[in-house]
């Protein structure tokens, strides 16, 4: 087996839960967008180029309101600010990735980040190709779903209620395996508890930013206090 096929064979099974989620959630995005009077090109290009689920839904609303590109830019910064943490986490892992690096960064959605940062890539598997396949497959699922939804429009209806739990299940499963593979559980607990407390205090729309600030502040404190081995 050559290195491309080996990397693909390792990456593909890990993306299957995301395939299910992205095809159907992407479809609902496509259906929603064309139901607002846009052609199928809109969900296609927005899913391909923005490639950040919640911001794509928000952009449909922005397209229907008054022209405000600066507002759109700031909204995207706020909604996606969690990506800053992904970048800091992947600084080392993406080193030496050459031409693949810009695409790996471009396509770093929650799900691709989760897999690329947590997967125990077996020795002998090319890390760069593995991460490239994970990222590209996930984007393929999402764009395919959004475009299909845009083409089929409201003529499709299936009961997918509860399917979005697949993403929660994915994140919880990765959380558990990271927990089992590490001796120091403080960072994991800090992330979980601080976010939960902020959710209770600030509500579902506002809690991410304060969570991130508190987590960063705590870890910076850990750094200067010393004694924590990551």
């Amino acid at each position: 087996m050559n290195k491309y096929r080996a990397a693909f064979a390792t990456a593909f099974p890990l993306t299957l839960p995301i395939c299910a989620a992205f095809l159907f959630l992407g479809m609902s995005y496509g259906v929603l967008t064309v139901s607002k009077g846009f052609s199928v090109w809109y969900p296609f290009f927005m899913s391909l180029l923005i490639f950040a689920g919640s911001m794509e839904f928000v952009t449909v609303g922005l397209l229907l309101s008054a022209f405000d590109p600066v507002g759109a830019f700031c909204m995207a910064l706020m909604i996606n600010s969690r990506h800053l943490f992904y970048g800091i986490s992947m600084l080392e892992r993406f080193k030496g990735m050459g031409w693949k690096k810009p695409y790996l960064i471009f396509g770093m959605c929650d799900e691709s980040f989760s897999i690329n940062c947590s997967a125990a890539i077996p020795p002998g598997i090319d890390k760069g190709w593995f991460m490239l396949f994970v990222t590209a497959l996930n984007q393929l699922y999402w764009v395919t779903g959004a475009t299909l939804g845009g083409l089929l429009g409201s003529s499709v209806s299936f009961n997918t209620k509860g399917l979005d739990f697949v993403l929660a299940a994915l994140f919880i499963t990765i959380f558990i395996s990271q927990w089992q593979n590490s001796d120091n559980h403080q960072p994991a607990l800090a992330g979980l508890c601080i976010s939960a407390a902020c959710l209770a205090f600030f509500g579902p729309q506002q809690f991410l930013l304060p969570s991130m600030l508190l987590i960063a502040a705590l870890f910076i404190y850990f750094y200067y206090r010393g004694g924590i081995k990551p």
């Binding site: 590109p69 830019f73 993406f94 739990f165 990271q178 870890f219 750094y223």
Partner: protein
């Protein structure tokens, strides 16, 4: 909005999103020495971010009204049992999601 205004709006959304993804790599390029504090954060953040994503993916669960988070709690309990015994992520994610869909579609309506 005209087509041009729509394209500019979408471009602004793309630019804002990409700024959040590329900024750390632009601030700390590979050919320069990354500050030790940032390296330290890069090692501590992944487990914390997964914890944050767990909460993020459950943020719309209604604990005080509706089904009081019962279907979510049951599905997560099944997920934990499966993952701690079988340790097969695909089975864990697949079975617990189908179980959750059955719960919210057939039982907790």
């Amino acid at each position: 909005m005209t087509l041009t205004q729509q394209i500019i709006t979408i471009a602004a959304a793309v630019l804002g999103t990409m700024a959040t993804r590329f900024l750390p790599f632009l601030l700390f390029p590979a050919h320069k020495k990354t500050p030790p504090l940032v390296l330290f954060l890069g090692k501590l953040l992944p487990p914390a971010v997964m914890g944050m994503l767990v909460i993020y993916s459950l943020k719309d669960v209604q604990l005080l009204g509706g089904t009081h988070g019962l279907p979510e709690a049951l599905a997560i309990a099944l997920l934990l049992a499966l993952q701690l015994t079988l340790r097969n992520a695909l089975i864990t994610i697949g079975v617990s999601t189908v179980f959750y869909m059955l719960l919210v579609q057939k039982i907790f309506i």
